[in-house]
């Protein structure tokens, strides 16, 4: 079974600064997908960024980028030029690319609460 660990329960950053959220995972699979989801106070989870394990290039989406270290099973999220609207809980998640009955299932970490201060 896969596990996802986020070791930072809470983080804070000043507006316009850069912050990095950590995530590690454990799997015996070689091909899989990793995600970062954002959950604002409205509770609605929003996909921030997706990384395919077989791609060495780190994914980027505007101010959001990841540092994917496959050998270390590490997948951190960097938020540049932090904005007040980035305040939310952030979840790291794993999805197997293998077939089977659990295909499509997301396994989440415990979450990191990020607060952006003005």
């Amino acid at each position: 079974a896969q596990t996802v660990t986020q070791s930072q329960p809470e983080m804070s950053v000043q507006e316009a600064e850069t912050v990095t959220l950590s995530c590690t995972y454990d799997t015996s699979e070689n091909n899989y997908y990793l995600f970062w989801y954002k959950q604002p106070p409205s509770r609605q989870m929003i996909l921030v960024i997706r990384q395919e394990a077989y791609k060495q290039q780190n994914a980027t989406e505007n101010r959001f980028s990841v540092n994917f270290q496959k050998a270390a099973k590490s997948f951190s999220l960097k938020i540049s030029d932090s904005q007040l609207g980035d305040t939310a809980m952030y979840f790291c998640a794993f999805m197997s690319s293998a077939g089977g009955t659990s295909y499509g299932k997301l396994t989440f970490g415990q979450g990191t609460i990020l607060t952006v201060h003005p």
Binding site: R43, R50, T101, S102, G109
Partner: protein
């Protein structure tokens, strides 16, 4: 277009009562997922549907939990004889297909409180 909707947004019930939680996925999405978010267990996968069938029910916490999906659209999660440990936010998500490149879009969740 409209996103995933869930109803009710909040539900308070007494221990031992049955509850039904509803999820309306995005139109045309064939895959539908239920997750539970609780303080003690974090975010956990419960069940998914591909069309109307649920190939994997192993994530359901107990036999008091059941789910169905009709017409490849609306899904209902039913909890019978609710217990206090069932208190949580129940999230529903849908995606166009079942692959990892098919983004799962989440609803706002139903917050269930069992007194």
């Amino acid at each position: 277009g409209a996103g995933v909707s869930q109803s009710p947004s909040n539900k308070v019930t007494e221990k031992g009562k049955d509850v039904e939680l509803r999820c309306d996925p995005i139109s045309g999405h064939t895959a539908l997922y239920w997750y539970r978010q609780s303080l003690g267990q974090g975010l956990e996968f419960l069940i998914y549907f591909q069309g109307n069938s649920a190939p994997d029910k192993s994530g359901l916490p107990s036999d008091r939990f059941s789910a169905e999906r009709t017409g490849g659209s609306v899904s209902t999660l039913t909890i019978q004889r609710t217990q206090q440990e069932d208190s949580a936010v129940y999230l529903c998500a849908s995606s166009l297909g079942q692959g990892a490149t098919d983004t799962q879009y989440f609803g706002p969740g139903t917050r269930l409180t069992v007194l």
